[in-house]
């Protein structure tokens, strides 16, 4: 009898393609996606991608120039010393200053900047604790970049010192003196906050949460099909377009309220600076909710049953969020993967929230993110409408 139960279950599984997909294909897809992002080819920790660092040489000495050259020659770093400026019709490049380098870190263009102040050349390889120190400016949302730059700076300084006659015969008294170039680190973002990382993770969780939530709520459409209310509604004067728009507006407002509740909780309990960034928060939340709602409708119109919807939502939402930076910051990924991740609206949404809460960017800076997210929204709505044709008159 027990054997019969086992046989029966296997027979049913063999005849249910959706269940087979969930049982065998989804785990493989998950494994592959996560392996790419967190494993071999996706992150820059494995050496396939270099840490970008803005370098400002205020000293201009022979040794400091040698240091910059040594840094440029390091395969783990991508050294940026100039930036583009527009003068009239033509584009030109100008050397970075301490202020422009700091702004690049704040804008998220590079995760760290290295400033070599005047007199630092004399300090390289001198083991003089009273000498000038290098300054590493970093974005604390990228915990690796600042330390990587600091470490690689030592290697470059050793090379620069060796090339210039070196530091032989020096008696080191402590570990600090063994450093060929001492440096200090300063976070250029989040330094005024009590718990700066909360703002970073609140956005990550909010975006992933409303994607799951919209996918689940979109399942109401499937329930209406099963209960017959969809048929009844379509028999009335309301067409499929009207029905989908109604559902979309509901899902959008629901997602807005959910995110607002989450951020208010974050403000009250974790000191999330919501009120200081209210306008940006509203813009990003409305846009992201609209896209998530339309995305939920696509999944609902694509699925025939609740079970299919659940499987599809798990696969797509988790994959997009792994790729889009909710689980693992995008800036830690390789450049190629960072570009690929922009196929998901959630990556744009996360960038937008980070601009608001982390980089304290003005509203006007949200233009690219808002445009991309609204573009995704229109695309999803059109797709959902096309998929919903199966419910129209046959």
């Amino acid at each position: 009898m027990i054997g019969l139960i086992v046989q029966n279950a296997w027979t049913q599984l063999r005849r249910d393609r959706a269940a087979q997909l969930l049982a065998f294909v989804v785990p493989i897809a998950f494994f592959s996606i996560f392996a790419i992002i967190f494993g071999g080819g996706g992150t820059r920790m494995n050496g396939t991608s270099r840490v970008a660092v803005a370098v400002v040489d205020e000293d201009g000495s022979e040794k400091s120039r040698a240091l910059v050259e040594a840094l440029k020659g390091d395969s783990a770093l991508r050294v940026v010393t100039t930036r583009a400026v527009r003068s009239g019709e033509s584009a030109a490049r100008e050397p970075l200053t301490r202020a422009t380098a700091e702004q690049m870190v704040k804008n998220g263009e590079v995760p760290a900047a290295l400033v070599l102040p005047a007199g630092v050349g004399a300090s390289i390889g001198s083991f003089n604790t009273a000498g000038a120190k290098a300054l590493v400016l970093h974005d604390p949302s990228d915990p690796v970049a600042g330390r990587t730059v600091g470490g690689l700076l030592q290697r470059a300084a050793l090379r620069a010192a060796a090339a210039g006659g070196g530091f032989f015969g020096v008696q080191a008294r402590d570990a600090d003196e063994m450093m060929p170039l001492r440096f200090e680190q300063r976070a250029v973002l989040g330094e005024k906050r009590d718990s700066p990382m909360v703002a970073f993770y609140a956005a990550s969780i909010a975006v992933m949460f409303i994607m799951f939530s919209a996918a689940g709520a979109g399942g109401a459409l499937i329930e209406e099909t099963e209960s017959g209310t969809l048929e009844r509604v379509l028999t009335s004067g309301l067409g499929m377009t009207g029905l989908l728009l109604g559902k979309w507006i509901y899902l959008t407002t629901l997602a807005c309220v959910q995110v607002a509740v989450m951020f208010v909780w974050g403000m009250l309990v974790f000191k999330l600076p919501l009120l200081q960034h209210l306008a940006g928060f509203i813009v990003m939340t409305v846009c992201t909710s609209a896209a998530a709602a339309a995305f939920g409708l696509v999944l609902a119109t694509l699925s025939r049953t609740r079970q299919q919807l659940a499987g599809l939502a798990n696969l797509i939402v988790l994959s997009l969020n792994a790729l889009g930076g909710s689980m693992f910051p995008r800036f830690m990924m390789s450049d190629a993967l960072q570009r690929v991740s922009l196929i998901g609206f959630n990556a744009w949404a996360l960038d937008g929230y980070l601009k608001v809460f982390w980089r304290e960017a003005p509203l006007s800076a949200l233009g690219p993110q808002v445009a991309a997210i609204l573009g995704f929204t229109v695309l999803f709505l059109v797709l959902a409408r096309r998929l919903a044709r199966r419910w129209e008159a046959a």
Binding site: S227, G228, T235, S236, L238, A393
Partner: protein
């Protein structure tokens, strides 16, 4: 003028022919029953009238106006076989929703909801959530949602399926009240007794065509089953059937068809006696809809 007129309706789904030149007409205030075995095309026809199926050929007219698919049909009410209701809304909220979707609002809607709650016997449960309702209550509300906007024609797809006899009776009372107001009704049912007892006319459809239409008497004639069926139960098995009888399967019953009970029945009984058989029980009746249905479609109609 006919309220509803269907002419030569044709519809295929892939290689399956669902409607094959079906025609029928429904008069003002009439209750027309649509009977057919599973897969005969009943639901396709109902969905085509409701605008949810596009015909490949033929026309459907309501009061002389040809209906287009997916266009609003204000004169039409549809009561689906499933209880198409929102379980987490109350009876009143469900009525409000479907009333507004069908174009009524404001004071008129409030008046209609009050009428519908009274009509369906749910006035005391107006604010209760539908998920707490019994099957019969849901059926009645399902019906009320379909007629709230005062349609002139109501399509009912198996309106009494799965409900107890008492609820079934109250549903037919509700339908009677609608007819008294002049509403025309077209219903599909699996219950032959219901169709026989409640419908003025019956259309039997099979393989997407109307194979017979008319009152029960007309259908009996069309099926060639006119006359009275005589069934005798014997006290023992008969070796052979007397002249004019057919022997039943168990040889303990005899059946015959006669047209004049008074003049033919005594002769039949005399022949039975002459064979030395005794009659234990006697039944005389007209051909049932069941027999007509079986004769015309070659199939039993089961739920």
């Amino acid at each position: 003028m006919a309220v509803l007129e269907i002419r030569d309706a044709r519809k295929s789904f892939g290689t399956t022919l669902a409607l094959d030149g079906l025609s029928l007409a429904l008069g003002e205030g009439e209750l027309l029953g649509l009977l057919g075995p599973n897969g005969a095309g009943k639901t396709t026809l109902i969905r085509a009238i409701a605008g949810r199926v596009r015909l490949n050929g033929g026309t459907i007219s309501l009061y002389g106006h040809t209906l287009e698919p997916e266009k609003p049909r204000r004169d039409l009410g549809v009561v689906p076989q499933e209880n198409a209701l929102y379980p987490l809304l109350s009876a009143r909220e469900n009525l409000e929703t479907f009333g507004k979707l069908n174009g009524i609002d404001g004071k008129h809607l409030r008046e209609r909801i009050a009428w519908a709650l009274e009509w369906s016997g749910l006035a005391d449960r107006a604010t209760s959530l539908v998920r707490t309702f019994s099957g019969g209550m849901k059926r009645r509300l399902n019906l009320a949602c379909g007629v709230l906007h005062e349609p002139k024609l109501v399509l009912l797809d198996e309106p009494t399926v799965g409900v107890d006899p008492q609820s079934r009776e109250s549903i037919y009372d509700m339908l009677g009240a609608l007819r008294a107001r002049g509403t025309s009704l077209l219903l599909t049912t699996h219950y032959l007794e219901e169709a026989e007892a409640r419908c003025e006319r019956i259309v039997i459809i099979d393989h997407g065509r109307a194979v017979a239409a008319g009152t029960l008497v007309e259908l009996v004639e069309q099926a060639g089953l006119s006359g009275r069926r005589v069934r005798l139960s014997l006290d023992r098995a008969a070796a052979k059937a007397p002249t004019g009888f057919a022997l039943g399967d168990d040889a303990g019953t005899l059946t015959a068809t006669i047209t004049d009970v008074v003049h033919e029945l005594p002769g039949l009984l005399a022949r039975v006696q002459a064979e030395g058989l005794a009659v234990r029980d006697l039944e005389v009746r007209t051909a049932s809809l069941q027999a007509v249905f079986l004769k015309l479609t070659g199939k039993e109609l089961r739920e």
